[in-house]
Amino acid sequence: MDLLNALVAFLNFVFVPAVAYGAQLALGALGATLIYGVLRFSNFAHGDTMAFGTMVTILFTWWFQSMSITAGLLPTALIALPFGILCTALFVLGTDRVVYRFYRKQKANPAILVIVSLGVMLVMNGVVRLIIGVEEQNFADGGRFLISAGDFKAATGLAEGLAIKSTQAITLVVAVICVAWLFWFLNRTRTGKSMRAFSDNEDLALLSGINPDRVVAVTWIITAALATIAGVLYGLDKSFRPFVYFQLLLPIFAAAIVGGLGNPLGAIAGGFIIAFSEVMVTYAWKKVATYVLPDSMAPDSLLQLMSTDYKFAVSFGILIIVLLFMPTGIFKGKST
């Protein structure tokens, strides 16, 4: 019984939150890695693209709520999501037309593109703060729990409860659909294949008649969609604050680098590696240990490796380990 309780506590406090967080990071890292693969630079504006998409979605959510359009048990934000994606895609295509295209035609050094993306980041950050402000926004509505801790205890008779928030379940379902669609798109469709060809070898792709403008535009649209979805899921699960989204840049890039920059499969693996390490390192294991160990060995301390204030240190530590021992990442991305 104690072992079962320990397992349930582990699932409740570590596994379920880490899976949801990992799915959000994976979607974010997929967007960053796609831009890297096709456009060949690290997009520092990615976190703020997520914030922008989430902001638009929140505005639509409020509008729908004011007209009493809701999705019943599901959050209203899911209805608003397509509109958020549309606006973000248009905005991102606009920045590409006004800003990035000029440097692409010049074949500018990737470092210049990174600085340019810093400029875009500042602009997007300013726009988001101007429109919605810096305060925290909660926009989740609909059913709170798929399984609540109380129901679980009553059904199983265990001392520990297992709660699964509906936002966590939605995160996982949406992420699986997105990833399945993305891989189908990249591997089976003509446009997707041309994107991969462009990423592998630009010159050969151009020689074989691939239209680079189309590939770039499609990449931006997919990235905008992934960023908005990742941002909205994160915001539903936790809450929306522009600055937190900027800070997500570090775990997202760590995930993309761990998996191998430019490699979509790696981005997903990286997202889950970062999320699980972060949650496991910052979780206080006392509860689980008390169930597993005999009473005489019960721990006094919290058994927390690191306080949650240092969660960025975890992504950073993993990043350092990867840079030291396998700079191309687990799935062999691009290193030069």
Partner: protein
């Protein structure tokens, strides 16, 4: 009349206009706050401009400078030291020693499972030992009078000394991060420095025994020649001096203190530029530019590119740390919550890019100009937004726009950066 001189004259005019139309006190306080940022911009300029290294962790290195001021200048807390000082030092030493032992083991053992297991055992054992010694000591230190102390304090000596110490701390951090991230893709350094900056600021915010965390370390002493306003207001020579200018002693004392700061910061700035210009014109400077312009050919000429990059990265970060220490010693307090990457890192980037990367005078010009814009917008922004929205009726939209005026600064900063990169990528004062 060359371009450099005219542009500097123009910036000087901006400060003078602020003095005439607002107040000289405001103009001077902007200048005292901007000069250290200009020094930070110089540090970034030698990293980005000389070597093309992408440092997005300026906030962290400046914060280390701020930490140096606390460690050097704050009064020691004797009770705190008695309670846990040796324990904390021993804990830190054990932690560092186990990392060193792990690195030594990794480098000197035969590759294989035995090496991996030994290194892992050293690291895990070291971590347990570190926490076992460190945690109780920290608890003991923080338990002493947490409302006013709860920390170890510093050495209680002249904060002027903290400036080079800040440079050394930042240099050490830069060495560690450069060892790992240099020699790989250029973006890896950008992401690694972004991370280390977040972590350094998190440490300052949470390690109460070191910096009192969010409770802030206040009333740090002034660096040596700078007097306290209240002390000079009563001096006879000063009252006479103020009377000669026709100013009241209270305003005059505040202006006098700022002038002293400006002179000190200005002296450091001029010395730094002189040294950096000498270095740039030396064979070392030519080599750095050759490496930046074509790494492959420089490597073919037998230059160790990664080593040179590490060198210039450390040097630049040391200057950034020094600038950070100067800012903290001027404010007289360390407030970890004020460190944010937008104002501390990206503002400096705009300074360097707009001024002219690779040109030290350009970085200074950009620093003075963008710094002025940033701070003047802080005081003028809300009233400007009030003027723009004057035709609107009072309502939530107008209130929202006036409240949001500070965020216009970020937007403007981003637009300036993009415009400069597009239309004048070499900046106001291009590299010769």
């Amino acid at each position: 009349m060359n371009r450099t001189f005219l542009l500097f004259l123009g910036v000087a005019a901006l400060y003078a206009l602020t003095g005439f139309f607002q107040s000289w006190n405001l103009a001077l306080s902007i200048l005292t706050a901007v000069l250290p940022s200009t020094i930070i911009a110089l540090g970034l300029n030698i990293q980005w401009g000389y070597a093309g290294l992408f440092n997005t962790g300026l906030m962290g290195f400046s914060a280390l400078g701020g930490l140096a001021v606390v460690l050097v200048a704050a009064k020691p807390v004797a009770e705190g030291w008695d309670a846990g000082g040796p324990g904390i030092l021993l804990g830190l030493f054990l932690g560092a020693a186990s990392i060193a032992a792990a690195i030594f083991g990794w480098n000197h053992m035969e590759k294989g499972r035995a090496r991996a297991l030994t290194v892992a055992a050293i690291l895990i054992g070291g971590f347990v030992l570190f926490r076992w010694v460190f945690d109780p000591a920290v608890m003991a230190v923080e338990a002493f009078n947490p409302a006013t102390a709860g920390n170890l304090g510093g050495l209680g000596i002249n904060p002027l000394l903290a400036w080079p110490v800040g440079g050394v701390l930042a240099a050490l951090a830069a060495w560690g991060i450069g060892k790992v991230a240099l020699g790989l893709r250029s973006d890896y350094l950008a992401i690694a420095t972004l991370g280390i900056a977040e972590i350094i600021v998190a440490v300052l915010k949470n390690e109460d025994w070191l910096t009192r965390g969010v409770k802030n370390v206040i009333s740090l002493p002034r660096p040596w020649p700078v007097p306290l306003e209240v002390n000079i207001q009563t001096q006879e020579w000063f009252i006479n001096l103020a009377a000669a200018f026709g100013a009241n002693p209270v305003t005059a004392s505040s202006i006098f203190v700022k002038l002293v700061y400006c002179t000190m910061f200005g002296t450091v700035l001029v010395l730094l530029i002189w040294m950096l210009e000498r270095a740039l014109k030396s064979p070392w400077g030519r080599m750095m530019r050759a490496i930046r312009d074509n790494e492959v050919s420089a490597e073919a000429m037998g230059k160790d590119v990664t080593r040179r990059h590490l060198q210039v990265f450390i040097l630049g970060s040391a200057i950034v740390g020094m600038g950070g220490a100067m800012l903290t010693s001027m404010h007289g307090q360390l407030t970890p919550t004020t460190y944010n990457p937008l104002g501390w890192t990206f503002l400096i980037w705009v300074m360097v890019i707009a001024g002219g990367s690779g040109n030290n005078w350009g970085a200074v010009l950009g620093g003075l100009l963008i710094g002025w814009l940033w701070l003047i917008a802080e005081s003028l922004g809300p009233s400007l937004m009030g003027m723009v929205t004057v035709g609107m009726g009072d309502g939530p939209l107008k209130a929202h726009l006036v409240d949001a005026a500070p965020h216009m600064r970020l937007l403007t900063l981003g637009v300036i950066l993009l415009l400069v990169l597009r239309f004048s990528p070499r900046g106001l004062l291009p590299e010769k």
